[in-house]
C-alpha cells in the first residue's frame, strides 16, 4: 500500500498527466473526454473539500475516483463495447468482393448505405457552415487585433476563442453524426484561473490555433466540396433526365416537344423516332447512373477525408 501511495499523483495536473500517459495510443477524442471528465471531477472534489490541501484530496482519490490506470481501463473498456454495439454489422459483401459480380454489387451498394447520404448532406451544407466559420474567425481575429491596444482587447480575445472552441465542438458533433468519425462527446473543461493564466493557456494551447486554422480552411474546403457535389449531381441527373426524355420520344410518346427539334446526342443528331435515338438515349441513361454512383463514392470519400481533417485539427491528444 505504501509503494502505491508514493506513486500517487499529488496534484490535479500530475493526475491528468498520468491518466494521459495511461491512455497513450487510444483514440484522441476518447482521451480528450477522459481528461476533461477527470479534471472536472477532481476540481469539484477540491472545491468541495476546500479546507484540505490539494495533496490531501488527491491522496484519497485512488480509493474514490480510481487510479489513473483504473480510470483509463474503464474508458477503454466502455468505448470498446459501445463502439462494438454501435458499429454496423460486418459488411456482408466482404466475402463476395473478389468476384466481378461482387465488385458491381459493391459499386452500386453505395445507394443503400446511410453514410453516403449523410456525407452528401455534410458536403452540401459545408459551404454555408464554411462561410459562417470563416466570417466569425476573420471578424474575431481582426477585432481582437484592433482592440488589442485597448484594455478590452484581452477579454474580447478570450471570449472569441471561447466561441470558436464551442463552434469547433459543435462542428465535431456534426462531423461524427455525418461521417462516423469519433469526436469528443463534450467540450474540454474551462480552466478555473485568472485572466493572465487563462490567456497564457489559450496562447500556448496548440488546439486554439488549429481550431482557428480549421475554421479558416472551412470556407475554401466548403467551396470545393459544394462545387464537386453539385457538379456531380447536376451532370449525372442531367444525363439521366435528358436520356429519359429522348428515350420516351424515340418510342413515340408525345411529350409536347417540337417535332422538328433534333437533339444532338454523343456528337450525332439522330431522327427523333429512330432506333439510333433509342440506343443512344439508353447509353446516356446508363452513363448518368454510373456517373451518379461514382459521384456518391467520391462524396463518401470526401466525407471521410473531412472527418479526418476535422479530427486532426479540432481534437488534440494533449488537450
Amino acid at each position: 500500500m505504501n509503494a502505491q501511495d508514493a506513486n500517487m499523483p499529488r496534484t490535479i495536473k500530475e493526475y491528468i498527466d498520468e491518466l494521459r500517459a495511461a491512455l497513450d495510443g487510444a483514440d484522441p477524442a476518447l482521451i480528450q473526454d477522459a481528461l476533461s471528465d477527470a479534471e472536472t471531477h477532481l476540481r469539484a472534489e477540491c472545491a468541495a473539500r476546500s479546507t484540505e490541501t490539494e495533496q490531501a484530496v488527491l491522496h484519497s482519490i485512488a480509493e474514490s475516483y480510481g487510479s489513473p490506470a483504473d480510470v483509463a481501463a474503464a474508458y477503454l473498456e466502455t468505448d470498446r463495447t459501445v463502439q462494438a454495439a454501435l458499429a454496423p454489422s460486418p459488411r456482408p459483401n466482404a466475402a463476395i468482393s473478389s468476384s466481378p459480380q461482387g465488385a458491381v454489387k459493391r459499386f452500386f451498394g453505395v445507394y443503400g448505405e446511410s453514410r453516403s447520404w449523410t456525407s452528401l448532406m455534410l458536403l452540401l451544407i459545408s459551404l454555408f457552415t464554411g462561410i459562417f466559420y470563416f466570417t466569425i474567425t476573420v471578424l474575431g481575429l481582426s477585432l481582437s487585433l484592433g482592440l488589442s491596444i485597448l484594455i478590452i482587447g484581452i477579454p474580447f480575445f478570450i471570449g472569441f476563442i471561447g466561441v470558436s472552441r464551442l463552434l469547433g465542438h459543435v462542428e465535431g458533433r456534426l462531423v461524427e453524426a455525418m461521417t462516423g468519425e469519433r469526436m469528443p462527446r463534450r467540450s474540454p473543461a474551462a480552466r478555473d484561473s485568472g485572466w493572465p493564466d487563462r490567456l497564457k493557456n489559450i496562447l500556448s494551447d496548440i488546439r486554439t490555433w488549429t481550431t482557428l486554422a480549421y475554421q479558416l480552411l472551412a470556407l475554401p474546403l466548403g467551396v470545393v466540396y459544394f462545387s464537386i457535389t453539385v457538379i456531380g449531381l447536376a451532370m449525372s441527373l442531367g444525363m439521366i433526365g435528358s436520356g429519359m426524355l429522348i428515350l420516351l420520344r424515340s418510342l413515340g410518346l408525345d411529350l409536347g416537344l417540337d417535332p422538328d427539334l433534333n437533339i444532338q446526342i454523343w456528337g450525332s443528331t439522330p431522327e427523333p423516332t429512330s432506333i439510333e435515338a433509342t440506343l443512344l438515349s439508353i447509353v446516356t441513361i446508363v452513363f448518368g447512373v454510373v456517373f451518379l454512383t461514382a459521384t456518391l463514392h467520391l462524396v463518401r470519400w470526401l466525407g471521410r477525408m473531412q472527418g479526418r481533417i476535422a479530427k486532426r485539427l479540432l481534437v488534440s491528444a494533449t488537450a
Binding site: D33, A34, D37, A38, E39, T40, H41, R43, A44, E45, A47, E63, S64, Y65, G66, D70, V71, A74, Y75, E77, T78, D79, T81, V82, A85, L86, R185, R186, S187, A189, A190, R191, D192
Partner: protein
C-alpha cells in the same frame, strides 16, 4: 478487499454500473451531473465504494450515446461547466427490462450461494 475480490467486483460491475446509473436518474426528480451522482452513490454506502467514481463517467456518456439519457451543459459559478443528465422514455423502458433481469439473476444466484446473515436482517431487501 483482496486483489481477487477486487477483480471479481470489477467483472460484476461491467453491466451493473449502467443499471445503477439508470436507476439513480429514474428515481431523481431533478437532473443530475456526474459529480453529484458520484457523491449520492458514495453516501448510499458505508465503507469501500463498490465502484470507482471515475468509472461512472464513460458509462454515463455511453448511455447518452445510446439515447437512454439526455444531457445539457450548464455553466457553473464555482467551477467548470456541468453536464446534467436526465433519463429518457427509452431509458426507462430499458431500466424496467434490466431491473427484472437483475432481480431474476439475484434470486437465482441467492438460491445457491445463500443469503448472508447480513442481507437477511436487512429491511430494504425486496
Amino acid at each position: 478487499m483482496s486483489e481477487l475480490a477486487r477483480k471479481f467486483q470489477r467483472d460484476l460491475n461491467a453491466g451493473l454500473v449502467a443499471l445503477v446509473l439508470l436507476g439513480v436518474l429514474a428515481e431523481s426528480d431533478e437532473d443530475l451531473y456526474g459529480y453529484d451522482i458520484a457523491k449520492r452513490l458514495q453516501r448510499a454506502r458505508e465503507g469501500d465504494p463498490l465502484f470507482k467514481e471515475g468509472t461512472i463517467y464513460p458509462v454515463l456518456r455511453s448511455l447518452a450515446a445510446s439515447g437512454w439519457l439526455s444531457s445539457r451543459i450548464v455553466p457553473s459559478y464555482s467551477g467548470p461547466p456541468r453536464r446534467y443528465y436526465r433519463i429518457t422514455e427509452e431509458g426507462r423502458a430499458v431500466l424496467t427490462e434490466w431491473r427484472s433481469v437483475w432481480r431474476a439473476t439475484r434470486d437465482f444466484v441467492d438460491q445457491f450461494t445463500g443469503p448472508s446473515p447480513l442481507t437477511e436482517s436487512s429491511p430494504t431487501d425486496v
